[in-house]
Amino acid sequence: MINSTKTPNINQIDREELANRLIKEATLQNFGRLLQILINTFTEKKYLQKLEKREGQEVQINFPALNIKINCLTFVLSKTPSDPYVRPSHNPRVEITFNTREDNIVESLIDIVSSKYTFFGVIRLLFKYFLTGKIKYKPLKRLGTTLATLRCFLIGNSKILKE
């Protein structure tokens, strides 16, 4: 047996900060992975196919409430979706910002993802999130890209789930 003579630890306050920062960074990555899983599995093929004409465009989603240096995910639109990047986009087609409190991000994501992509479903999200400023997108003229992205996230009425 080797006797334990541990190397000195960094001080406790730093460790607390380090843990909090790493947990937040991982939380952001986790959101990215979960969204990718849900899109890959449950978004209907016809919606993904429609992304073909927007292939390569980047949509940046910001989570300022996480309060970390890099607080955004960059999705590259494609009919074969892959993991988002955890970095700002060099040339975002659309920037979507979640202005919700940190502890409300998960609930907001759940609410949005489980919404139905129907006229009333989109109107509900518009009133609940976009008109109240909880979620903003810019530039405003790129509503088409925003809707195309949103369409892939909303799996509430996905036929794959019902099957």
Partner: protein
């Protein structure tokens, strides 16, 4: 006060907690039922472990291919499975454990060693773990034997090693039982605790119950269509080493219930079963939805991988302690991967042929993991054995099961999809 001795474990807990919330709230009904159960039990286990760490209980890192119930049951400790941390992070985060693989590589740890240990090596180099001791057998591979001594070398963490014999006969069981006993005593001295063998017996009662459920699950897999999602295989790979006592019992009980319900209705979770497949080696552990894709898009049921290949005898708890040690030693020698990779290659071939025959597989897929050099020489022999004895083809894919940079999830899907096109499926 939380001293944050296991920061990656805390990160993982947050990721598991958020994954549970998002997946369980957005995916209704029977969809992803096994994944939902797995995440729930994982969260419960991690909650308990983090609480134990906050209370100041010793942090014990351990190898995955080993019945950790022995230590978990005998002492009051916080168990952290080295390999599961790396690979569960790989599944739940976009970057996975990749930054930590790179830290280990830059430190000088060979790039071609197994990522399962390299992740935690990188995390330790980054000062994120403070283990009080680490436990490992000298199995199942060279990576284990070469990577675990990093911990005492780097920061003098006590390393307790159980010498596992190459042969797996009765003499070896007796020998390894003695090894296990000495490991228990050594750990007790390091953490300054007395062994509580009554607690061990209680833990092993759950363990035995879990084995009963496992046996029933294995039987149910013979049904056509298979009532379980393919994700059960990678879920078992991560759950068996990390869930102990009542938690593993709870998980397997829920899985069995899901399977029974579907079996009675005669329905497969996702549409028609077109292909039954055995993965003689590991599942892809960085891509949690690969299994969903195989289930839904290809109609392929993955019946077994190496880690779900567990057919253990329960441990006799009516006898003395020596009998318990021998029972655990027998299990340890037959643990997934230790059984197939540590000794002679015949076990691996026999097991694969048995599983493919018994469970009526149409094909096999072998993941040639970069870390597992010991398995690469086996691929052609195994392919020939499966063709001659079962009459099925085997695809081999070169990849790293925990690092998507080696071969991406999309390329793996393409390879599998192309392979499936070549199958003759006149069942």
């Amino acid at each position: 006060m939380n001293e944050h001795k296991i920061i990656p474990y805390e990160i993982l807990y947050e990721a598991v907690k958020n994954s549970e919330k998002i997946i369980c709230s957005t995916i209704p009904g029977d969809n992803m039922a096994i994944l939902k159960s797995f995440i729930k039990v994982m969260r419960l286990t991690m909650e308990k472990n983090i609480k134990k760490a906050e209370e100041g209980l010793p942090i014990i890192g351990h190898h995955f291919s080993f019945p950790f119930e022995l230590f978990f049951g005998t002492y009051e400790i916080t168990g952290v499975c080295v390999e599961v941390i790396s690979y569960l992070l790989a599944a739940l985060l976009t970057l996975g454990s990749e930054p930590y693989y790179d830290i280990a590589d830059n430190y000088g740890h060979p790039y071609h060693t197994c990522t399962s240990q390299k992740g935690v090596i990188g995390m330790t180099l980054d000062n994120l773990f403070e283990f009080d001791a680490i436990i490992t057998p000298t199995a199942p591979c060279d990576n284990t034997i070469a990577s675990y001594p990093f911990f005492p070398y780097y920061n003098n963490t006590p390393l307790i090693i159980g010498d596992m014999p190459i042969y797996h006969d009765q003499r070896s069981i007796n020998y390894f039982a003695r090894e296990m006993e000495s490991m228990v005593i050594e750990l007790g001295k390091i953490i300054d605790q007395e062994p509580d063998y009554e607690k061990l017996r209680r833990t092993l009662e759950y363990h035995n119950k879990a084995l009963e459920y496992q046996a029933e699950i294995n039987e149910l897999k013979k049904a056509i269509p298979c009532p379980f999602e393919s994700v059960l295989c990678p879920a078992l790979a991560r759950s068996v080493p990390i869930l102990h006592g009542d938690m593993i019992e709870l998980f397997l009980k829920e899985v069995l219930e899901i399977g029974k319900k579907r079996y009675r209705s005669g329905k497969r979770p996702y549409g028609e079963e077109k292909i039954r497949c055995v993965w003689p080696y590991m599942s892809v552990l960085f891509d949690i939805v690969l299994c969903e894709w195989m289930d839904r898009e290809l109609g392929m049921s993955v019946l077994f991988d190496m880690f779900s290949n567990s057919f253990f005898d329960p441990i006799d708890l009516s006898g003395d302690l020596e009998g318990i040690y021998k029972g655990l030693a027998k299990q340890a020698l037959n643990y997934p991967m230790t059984r197939q990779s540590q000794g002679m290659a015949d076990k691996m071939i026999e097991d694969s042929v048995f599983l493919c025959k018994e469970y009526q597989a149409d094909c096999a897929i072998f993941t040639s993991h970069i870390g597992c050099k010991q398995s690469v020489s086996l691929i052609q022999i195994l392919r020939e054995a499966l063709r001659e004895e079962v009459g099925i083809p085997m695809l081999s894919i070169d990849l790293d099961v925990g690092d998507k940079r080696f071969m991406s999830a999309q390329t793996i899907r393409k390879e599998i999809a192309n392979f499936v096109k070549t199958l003759n499926l006149d069942r």
